[in-house]
């Protein structure tokens, strides 16, 4: 990897971090409504994984989709406008935090029923194979989803039919407020996929380069051999499940959260790059300032965008004609 590419990964993680911090602020100001699930702490997974893709590859996500969407290349202004429920949002204000879609970046959606999007991603891979296209699809979900039937049905079909899909489980240790040990019969989540003959890996999800390497291997299998993979990324979310619970919640201790922050993906990666003399403290600060300035512009754009006109209420329910 070139120093330039490494710096790009760092700046992408930083962009997601600053974007999410600002989203939290905007939520408390009432600019953002509904459920808002922040990604802070998990940035290395989205950035590392998506950096292993080509722009024309596809991504499907769950309800914690801000990071994935930004990493895939969506315009942060449009992403924030969607959070604000404005007409210039990615989905004209109809999707909101949990339902981002972006045709331009091949981002095929955020879905809010746990596990419900895994069959959809499997279908995307099915279509790619049917159409004999060279692309692959990445499907992100939390560790809670591995207990659903949709997970097992999807992995079975993908392996049976040899589909170019990479299932990425972001094991952040908590399905809402329930620790994985109280929800899953095996803590070793990667083993949950072992009944289906897919390629399995367990990865340190706080290390952006490890994530990238692991996904690169999986993408190669998918693109060149049309074989699915199941990757478990061990990560951690610093904030609550959503904006409606405090950051540590009553289901974990402050000490635990502080302990986990020592593995912070951005700080860790900066230290590595700094040690390798790729960038110094000063340059890092400048990078951060530039991103924070950009986020100010993002907020201004979202806030200036009008609410969707009322005549859009009933558009896009069904379409006329054929396709």
């Amino acid at each position: 990897m070139s120093p330039q590419e490494e710096k790009h990964l760092l700046s992408q993680m930083l962009l997601i971090r600053r974007f999410e911090e600002k989203a939290a602020e905007m939520y408390s100001l009432g600019k953002i409504g509904g459920f808002c699930h922040l990604y802070i702490g998990q940035e290395a997974v989205a950035v590392g994984a998506i950096s292993a893709l080509l722009p024309e590859d596809y991504v499907v996500s769950a309800y914690r989709d801000h990071g994935h969407c930004l990493a895939k290349g969506s315009d942060p202004k449009k992403v924030m406008a969607e959070l604000f429920g404005r007409i210039d949002g990615l989905c004209k204000g109809k999707g909101g935090s949990m339902h981002f879609f972006d045709t331009a970046t091949h981002f095929l959606g955020g879905y809010a029923i746990v596990g419900g999007h895994l069959p959809v991603a499997t279908g995307v891979a099915f279509a790619l194979k049917y159409q004999q296209k060279p692309q692959v699809v990445l499907c992100f979900f939390g560790e809670g989803a591995v207990n659903t039937g949709a997970f097992h049905e999807s992995l079975n079909l993908a392996s049976l039919w040899k589909l170019p899909v990479i299932y990425i489980c972001e094991n952040n240790r908590y399905g809402m407020g329930t620790p994985v040990e109280r929800a899953s019969s095996l803590y070793n989540i990667s083993l949950r996929g072992s009944g289906y003959g897919l390629h399995l890996e367990q990865v340190d999800g706080m290390d952006v380069l490890q994530v990238r390497e692991s996904v690169t291997r999986a993408v190669d299998r998918a693109r060149n051999k049309q074989l699915p993979s199941f990757l478990e990324m061990r990560t951690y979310r610093y904030m609550g499940h959503s904006m409606s619970d405090p950051s540590h919640g009553h289901y974990r201790t402050k000490d635990e959260v502080e302990e986990q922050k020592k593995r912070d993906p951005i700080q860790q990666f900066f230290k590595k790059l700094s040690a390798e003399k790729v960038l110094d403290e000063q340059t890092f600060k400048k990078m951060d300032q530039k991103i924070q300035q950009e986020i100010e512009g993002v907020i201004a754009y979202a806030d200036a965008s009008p609410f969707p006109p009322l005549n859009t209420l009933t558009t896009d329910v069904t379409v006329e004609g054929t396709r």
Partner: protein, 324 residues
């Protein structure tokens, strides 16, 4: 015009659309080598191969979701439910994904897919395999629901459904697969949303679809002998409903009876009644009568099963009530 079976008409529709458009594929349990539990897909594997006629494991949620993803990518999936009873397992994919993706994405993605298969009570199959669920689907904003009663309608409507740009629930009458009827040899389409007067009449409008249409026609023929002129209307598409056709009939007959196999409470007949009262209240000379399934899980015992679904006597009695 050749007379063919309902199942053959459906088979022709699939075959013609698959020949016309290589984005169309059929997926479901036993659709390929077994040639369909009800033989609707007979011969399709032979003609189109495993790529386009796809046998799945028993996994309704999984393969319906695969259809959703494939449709988003530009394919035209036809997903067969071995029976619509099993679609309950795929409800999350249908209700939360197929029908909402277009709206949630602000129109960026479409999900043009057909979920089809047999529905309706059938011959002592008991509670879990014998029920009418069309009202469930009609309730969901954005879903179109089609339920043809004749071979001709089945073929023309399935072809239109496959070409439509939206998710469509296409409920075939499980008891109708062996019904015969005339089907044009030349290519034709029946528009979604267009009902049909199956028999003209002037005294009362009888509204029925799928298997119940045949019961309604039977009753109408009997009453004709007794001097009562019954107009029978088959909406064919339950959603969108051909309201103008129904309203114009009410304005002619001033009476209506709705026959449905589904449960009474929150049934489709209740919605149709409400629409007709709203749009033609002054035209009515008698309250609308609804003949429906009884609000019980379907019993196995033959006599109890018969009592649970509409029959000739109940429809006759309802018509009589509107005429008095």
């Amino acid at each position: 015009m050749p007379s063919i079976l309902y199942r053959e008409a459906l088979n022709q529709a699939l075959r013609e659309e698959m020949r016309r458009d290589d984005r169309v594929f059929l997926m479901g349990e036993e659709v390929g080598y077994y040639q369909g539990a009800f033989k609707v897909s007979k011969g399709l594997l032979e003609e189109f191969g495993e790529k386009r006629v796809i046998d799945t494991p028993i996994t309704e949620l999984g393969f319906t979701g695969v259809g959703v993803g494939a449709a988003m990518m530009g394919l035209r999936p036809v997903i067969e439910m071995m029976t619509f009873n099993f679609a309950i397992l795929a409800m999350d994919q249908i209700v939360n994904n197929a029908v909402k993706i277009q709206y949630m994405s602000g129109g960026q993605f479409r999900v043009p897919m057909v979920v089809r298969g047999p529905g309706g009570p059938s011959r002592q199959l008991a509670a879990q395999h014998s029920q009418s669920l069309e009202s469930w689907f009609c309730h969901v904003a954005g879903l179109k629901v089609v339920a043809p009663s004749t071979p001709k309608d089945a073929k023309g409507l399935l072809k239109s459904s496959i070409r439509d740009g939206n998710p469509i629930i296409f409920i075939e009458g499980q008891e109708l697969y062996s019904q015969k009827g005339e089907v044009p040899e030349e290519e034709y389409l029946i528009p979604i949303g267009q009902g049909e007067i199956k028999k003209e009449g002037s005294d009362v409008t009888l509204i029925a679809w799928s298997k119940m249409l045949h019961l309604a026609m039977d009753v109408a023929r009997d009453l004709e002998q007794k001097g009562v002129s019954v107009e029978v209307i088959d909406p064919r598409t339950l959603k969108p409903l051909d309201v103008p056709l129904l309203v114009s009939s009410i304005k002619k007959t001033h009476r209506a009876v709705i026959v449905e196999e589904g449960w009474r409470f929150c049934g489709l007949g209740a919605e149709i009644s409400s629409i007709l009262y709203g749009q033609a209240f002054d035209a009515f000379d008698a309250p609308i009568e609804r003949v429906t399934g009884i609000d019980v899980p379907m019993p196995y015992a033959k006599n109890l099963e018969k009592a649970a679904i509409p029959d000739k006597e109940r429809v006759m009695a309802a018509i009589k009530k509107t005429l008095n």
